[in-house]
Amino acid sequence: MKSDFSLNQLRPFPSVPPEIGREEFILNVAGLVTRLNNGARIVDDISFSIKQGETFALLGESGCGKSMTALSLMRLLPDGIRVASGDIKLDEEDILALPEYAMREVRGGQMAMIFQEPGLSLNPVMTVGDQIAEVLILHQRLRGKEVHSRCVELLEQVGISDASRRASEYPFQLSGGMKQRVMIAMAMAGQPKLLIADEPTTALDVTIQAQVLKLLRDTQQETGMALLLITHDLGVVAQMAHQVGVMYAGQIIEQAPREQLFSRPAHPYTQKLFAALPDAGRSGQPLAAIPGNVPPLGAPLAACRFAPRCDKAWALCHEQVPEWTQLENGQGVRCHLYTSQMGNEKLNLKTSLSPGLSTASEEGAGEGERGTSLLQVENLQVHFPIRKGILQRTVGHVKAVDGVSMNIPEGRTLALVGESGCGKTTVGKALLQLITPTAGSVRFAGHELMGITAGQLRKHRAGMQMIFQDPYASLNPKMRIAEILQEGMDALSIAKNSDERQRRIDELLEQVGLEKASKWRYPHEFSGGQRQRIAIARVLAVNPNLLICDEPTSALDVSVQAQILNLLKSLQQQLGLSYLFISHNLAVVEYLAHEVYVMYLGRIVERGTVEEVLHAPKHPYTQALLSAVPRIDGQGMKTIRLPGETPSPSHPPQGCHFHTRCAQVMAKCREVYPSETIVSATHHVHCYLAAE
């Protein structure tokens, strides 16, 4: 009865965005339940439908069952997990009833999937053409010459230039974005009715992400296929989706057309998710972080799954599972707020769903005066030699960092942004002398760090510390938390005796919001966000003045990211820390930073305050980078698409490094690297355009 009910709600709404092709459901999923063999429900009673030419986005944090839903549709679930009940119909064909041999026809033929990591989903010992040909031979029954010509056609279709040559190349000869294009070509080869894209752009840079998303949209328009897009990124959803299903702990808790979801989210979780997104408007205030973590698999089913983290929860939420409720405007939601009398009252009490965006960041604006300079970097260079031959002679250099200068004042945050491979992380490590710089000068609190001995360097170690990207790799799995925290204190002999150290450890754990009791546990017992807190506590143990944060939140979910950003911000206020914030996430940078440096191929191309660089960018690269970021409001969509990929730093282009991808390239750009142009006292650009 219940599944019928939820199916009914999914009939087309009057207000759906315009679709391409006929208004016909390609995929109907009703009451899908996927379980572990021990009974834990990974996907719990999910129902949705996708029309031809429509994009349905499944949005959710890691571990909420998005990918398992997709694998259930393909019937490719790993061992130990199976579909327990439910109904999947692809074009009126019952997928779950098909025998395995018929299923092989469906996979690739009717339903195709592209995966997150393009580098891992292509076979490294087969040429790209052969891999596409495989699909063509299997599903299109093409033979002989037809196969090759169709292959080339497909590759051209996904925008790969020189397709006939590329078809005979191996995956390692292609870049990440090209690999993902090849994956899409492979998926399209079977002419599927439904394409499942599981986080198709998560592993890619923003500019490449914009290219791939556009390709997906274009392909969809040409072929009229349905697209099931699985993502955690609200920005991608805003650009791509017609319908959105928000997943939490195995359930779809809210479903709505995109415009409605973004303008008026109904479920408290969705509301929080939007509020947790960092942007410049909120840079003064703490983000609305959702406390706690996504519940583990097999959590008790007797209540609303979000209740422990929900600030609107009341007794009923902890007792009863909320039913699927259809709102008048076509939105569906799974929350007691909309079913019970009590909930209605609560809804009415509430004033505004979204936190006040109007409050300007007074604090950020007020901090005009600059503190004394803490770190001064001049013309920092890191070159890695390329060695060849048996004698290991140096034949060239990879100029990972090529003349970077920066200046970090006390108590301020400087953000370093750029695509992967531009040398951001290398700068961070070179500052800490983890990688020996080739040339330049690093002065920390008035002391030159270049060229001093290891013993002298140790004296300055305490002042400058690093927080790493991957909280799973940055804590030694064989050491307990107390030992991890103690290590820095031991090495730099900070606290004298062991009592003092233990006191300090307790203090630190409290400071980063963890229980004291956790110091006797091992890192694997903590979630990603908690581990990042431990990593922060570890560096705080030595009382640093400057923290180099290397993408500290990129491995975390949105709701947890907000917790960490809040923590970093409050620590800065309490302890007067300076941050060098290395990131590719411009929204986070906008929220946290005071100054922004944009890096391209080992050099700073533009620098200035947040407002100057992010709101009035002068360099074409910065402009392209900003426009490529998917915005949740869907505005500012006039994207400047960057063709191609970042060139190799071992052979940077002659003249301005960016001229190969720049839309406004001029003759002199190809000859000499542009010198610095001063736009304002704080805003500097390396571009001929700004000089004019």
């Binding site: 490590k429 800490l432 983890l434 290891a454 360097l457 140790r458 170690r461 400058m464 510390q465 690093m466 790493f468 990207q469 991957d470 790799a473 940055s474 804590l475 030694n476 799995p477 064989k478 050491m479 307990r480 290590e487 820095g488 031991d490 090495a491 730099l492 006797w520 091992y522 890192p523 694997h524 017992e525 990593a535 570890r538 560096v539 030595v542």
Partner: protein, 468 residues
Amino acid sequence: MIYLLLATVLAAAVWIRKRPHLVLPWQRVAKGSVGMVSLLLLSLFVLVGLLDTLHYRAALPEKSNGQTVYSAEVLSVFDALAKGIKSRTEKTYSAPLAAYLYAKESMETSEGKILRDYPRLRYGGAHLVDPQRELLGDVLKRTGIGALEGLLIGVLLIAVSNMLFHFFVKFRTVSSSTGGKISTDNGISIFTGAMKNKPCKALLITALLIAMLLGVTANLAAVYHVLGTDKVGQDVLYLALKSIRTGLVIGTVTTLVMLPFALLLGIAAGYLRGWVDDVIQYIYTVLSSIPSVLLIAAAVLMMQVYIEMHPEWFETSAARADLRLLFLCLILGVTSWTGLCRLLRGETLKLRELEYIQAAQAFGVSSSRILTRHIVPNVMHIVLIAVVMDFSSLVLAEAVLSYVGVGVDPSTMSFGTLINSARLEMGREPMVWWTLAAAFGFMLVLVLAANLFADAVRDAFDPRLNRT
């Protein structure tokens, strides 16, 4: 030296007991049934090996000049325990539980005729009047009695140990908390409690099975050759049991010799890179491309010549054999570290790029500390697996070397010599299979138990597998 090893193990156990977080993984080992069963088997092997290590020289009855004279033959406690089977040597091969020799012989009958037939064994089944008829019945009877006896003794032993344990617990509660509640349940309730506990149950069943097997063996061995006899009529069961010590010594000592080389050089090469890496890589590439048998043969022959030039150093032949065994271990150890070293270097190369290592570097932690605190614990699983794998291959290597003639002293019994002696007889018709089967069976159980135990230990020490 073996005592030194034992003392180290004991000291380590006491040291660990005092530190609760180190005790924890061992408790996890104790909770797994596979680990405990293999530990029981292993400890049986070790017990035999230890008993075989307690050497003594029997005093001879005649005295010279009022001083006790000791026999030239060195015996071990184990020899004394197994005196029966040791002394009952036949003329040549005989099958397991047989009453007749395995080769026809010309015999003179009472009438003076020369008859070519299988003669009766001197000891095996000697008590039977007509072995053709009585053998099967007698064997079955003895098996049954042995099993029963074994079971009884096993139950008794378990009950006694249970009681002792109970007493110990009581004693502790009394001594630790005065006026504390003295537990009142009796031994039986503890026993039933233990039966509900899965590993305890498995342990008890294994213990009883082993006790039964021992009972059967002891009973049969009293009058038969349970595993037959070899070419010179020695009891194969005795030989196999004696080989355990050699196997254990070769396995553990060689590993101990090899480990420091592999661990130190491997992680140093992986972590420090640069010229250190180059030098270590060249060393192990060169070392592993020399045919190891040649290298070992050369070393052993040199040592042999040296030993023979100084016969005055050794009081007995057993001392000489032991020294040869030790040298063999040393030589094997020095030549066999390359494989593990290569593995560890690779793993360290991966680890050194991890962020927690870099975090430690950013703290200015010294290289030696990073190596010991961060890298060594994280490569321990590889070491453990490789060591156990090597253990079995070392026992086999010993067999190969004994075959070439550069292995253990000919007077030392080992699986290698056992296999070697069985090798030629495989082609014999009818085949002599039992020597090989005995060596095979004992080695299999020993290596399998060691493998399973190491597996259990590895799992228990991996924090990721033990989420609470």
